[in-house]
């Protein structure tokens, strides 16, 4: 089993404050995840604010160095790679981000944005070839060359910009796509189109996708599996549909039941208990990170952190109730 991209027990600790009183925040703790050469599916990396999902994304993309652990591309640590291997890694691992406006340089037109990867990754042999390629990928995402190539980012709509970003991914044809909240800044009635493009991208190019979000309803449409993070650790992971229908971890249970369903006959039952969640992060907690909010906790939860354990076929939970 060749791992194309692997996060091996990565931990990231940030330090806040100045010289005298430094506070340490563990954003991600001991996270492991791998995508093999032959898996071609969409995995959702889900988590709310403070879960560490953005930090993990930045580490997988090589923008942030883990405090502990390694990020491996084809078995090699990306921070110790040679230039040529790093190029290959860059070509194989791409991303689309939440805010297409932020991600585009206001002084460059869209044709520059598409030409750059063509030049750097040598995707075309000639200018004519490149123009043809750009035209084709723009068509795949529902745009036309005349519509966008000669324009600046501020002249396009949010939906057009995001599609242009996806066209860029179509161009590069990476093996792995990290999609970080790709639809959260798009109008509600236009999100489905973007999701369709991502699914098309994934199926046509035998690509694996990591969909990073806090909005499970959108991710559910196109994902096969899900990993749920809480304060830097995985709480539960496995087949998405199974987990939605029958969640095991208390946090996941609360989360799934609190998601809005657009059906007035399927409303929330009972009430939730609001807590000061924010304080929990800065306290050094021994034991399970969720225990101070958990309604099903048992004494051992406060003392020892439950390890992520396999509880069935393609199902893992980190909870003492299931050990």
């Amino acid at each position: 089993m060749n791992d194309l991209l692997e996060a091996k027990n990565i931990t990231k600790v940030f330090s806040l404050g100045g010289l005298v009183r430094k506070k340490y925040v563990t954003a991600v703790e001991n996270f492991s995840f791998g995508i093999t050469e032959d898996t071609q599916m969409v995995t959702t990396l889900a988590g709310e604010s403070g879960s560490g999902k953005t930090t993990i994304t930045n580490m997988l993309l090589g923008f942030l160095k883990p405090t502990k652990g390694e990020i491996l591309y084809r078995g090699q640590n990306i921070w110790k790679m040679k230039r040529r291997d790093w190029r290959n890694y860059r070509r194989d691992v791409q991303a689309v981000f939440q805010d297409p406006y932020e991600t585009l340089n206001p002084v460059h037109k869209i044709d520059y944005v598409l030409m750059e990867p063509i030049k750097k990754f040598k995707l075309a042999d000639s200018k004519a070839d490149a123009t043809k390629m750009m035209s084709e990928v723009l068509y795949s995402v529902g745009l036309s060359s005349e519509e966008v190539l000669d324009k600046y980012p501020h002249q396009l709509s949010g939906g057009q910009r995001q599609r242009a970003m996806l066209a860029r991914v179509f161009l590069i044809r990476p093996r792995i796509l990290l999609a970080d909240e790709p639809v959260s800044m798009i109008d509600v009635s236009l999100r489905a189109d973007i999701l369709e493009i991502i699914q098309k991208l994934q199926k046509e190019n035998d690509m694996s996708c990591l969909y990073i979000t806090h909005d499970l309803s959108n991710a559910y449409c196109i994902s096969d599996e899900i990993i749920i993070l809480y304060l830097g650790s995985v709480m539960e992971q496995g087949d998405f549909e199974t987990i939605v229908k029958d969640p095991m971890h208390p946090y996941v249970k609360t989360l799934i039941s609190s998601i809005s369903i657009p059906n007035p006959r399927a409303r929330w039952k009972g009430k939730v208990r609001l807590q000061d969640i924010e304080i929990a992060r800065l306290e050094t907690i021994t034991g399970c990170k969720f225990c101070n909010r958990c309604s099903e906790s048992i004494p051992i939860c406060k003392q020892k952190e439950p390890p992520l354990t396999e509880v069935g076929k393609n199902r893992r939970v980190a909870c003492h109730l299931y050990l």
Binding site: D187, L190, N263
Partner: protein, 332 residues
């Protein structure tokens, strides 16, 4: 007060009309033609009701929410219409009279709670400032106890009293804003995207809190949001806004079973759900430019059921009885 016969099967909703909006227009001045952000919108809000105002970004719903209390700032201006509350038209009131109504009778929770809280005043003082400005008689004349109670209701510890707004997280600030809105026990709370930046579980808690107010204190809530799924979870009636116009308003059950307006149907169909593992369908086309909206019905360029008349004439809002109102030529 006008009594509206109701036939909903939802025993919770009251029958007295609390707020009546008539032909409200809010425009934005530009160097050329004004932008018609809210164009001739009429609806009623009843006592003890949670009314949802749904629409996508740029449709005018936030402008409408602020317009109800004349909170719009230049270049926006009220171009016409009436907003009748307790028999008086808010649009024709002086600033001084409106100030007495705001907060005390109608509270407004703006979209970005970050900006609504004073950064240099402690939380406790902000509560007492609002209360003393309206000469609110605190129960038992114990303001500290009262504020603690309010904070506990949104599950924030009374320790928050002494903190400044910048020391709280986004979710906590949002809750404080809502709590302040509740503090003077208003008849109506207008909440503009109260949960947009909150985590899923906190969002549920805040919305349950608001609907709890409706149950316990008979407060009406006007909930403005682009999150259709969340609106379906909590509202009694749902109004759909598109390009500054009210397209449809019905009880939430009726609108789910039988959406009348094609835009409503398209909007509901475009929302993903954990009940179905499939990609929903987008509405083709793009939202219109409000400086230069399409002729006739503003939705017709994107409407699968558009007819010739839709391009020529703007449909009028038609009351179909049973609390159903729709602006569409399919029903004229």
């Amino acid at each position: 007060m006008k009594l509206v016969t109701q036939d909903l099967g939802n025993a919770e909703v009251g029958s007295d009309v609390l707020l009546e909006v008539k032909n409200l227009k809010v425009y934005y001045r530009t160097s050329t033609t004004p932008v018609r952000a809210v164009d001739d919108v009429s609806f009623e809000l009843k006592q003890k009701e949670v009314l949802g105002l749904a629409g996508e970004s740029g449709c005018g719903k936030s402008t409408l929410a602020m317009g109800l209390l004349k909170l719009v700032e230049a270049p926006a201006y009220i171009a016409g219409g009436k907003v009748i509350f307790r028999g008086k038209d808010l649009m024709s009131m002086s600033d001084e009279q409106l100030r007495k109504i705001r907060w005390r009778h109608i509270a407004f929770s703006p979209q970005s709670s970050m900006n609504a809280l004073n950064p240099v005043t402690r939380i406790y003082d902000q509560f007492t400032d609002a209360m003393s400005a309206h000469r609110y008689k605190v129960p038992e004349r114990k303001p500290r106890k009262y504020v603690s109670g309010l904070l506990k209701a949104i599950a924030l510890s009374p320790r928050i009293h002494r903190e400044y707004a910048s020391e709280l997280s986004g979710g906590m600030r949002q809750r404080v804003i809502i709590s302040m809105g509740m503090s003077l026990n208003p008849e109506l709370i207008i909440a503009d995207e109260p949960t947009s930046s909150l985590d899923v579980v906190v969002q549920r808690g805040v919305l349950e809190l608001l609907t709890g107010l409706r149950d316990e204190r008979r407060t009406s809530i006007l909930l403005v949001s682009h999150d259709i799924a969340t609106l379906f979870e909590v509202v009694d009636r749902l109004a759909i806004i598109y390009a500054g116009k009210l397209m449809e308003i019905q009880s939430v059950f009726d609108i789910y079973d039988e959406p009348l307006h094609p835009y409503t149907k398209g909007l509901i169909d475009s929302v993903p759900s954990l009940e179905k593992k499939e990609i929903p369908r987008s509405i083709p086309g793009l939202p219109p430019d409000l400086k230069n909206p399409p002729t006739g019905c503003r939705f017709h360029p994107r409407c699968a059921k558009a007819m010739e008349i839709c391009r020529q004439k703007e449909p009028e809002s038609k009351d179909l009885g049973h609390e159903k109102c729709v602006a569409c030529h399919l029903y004229s």
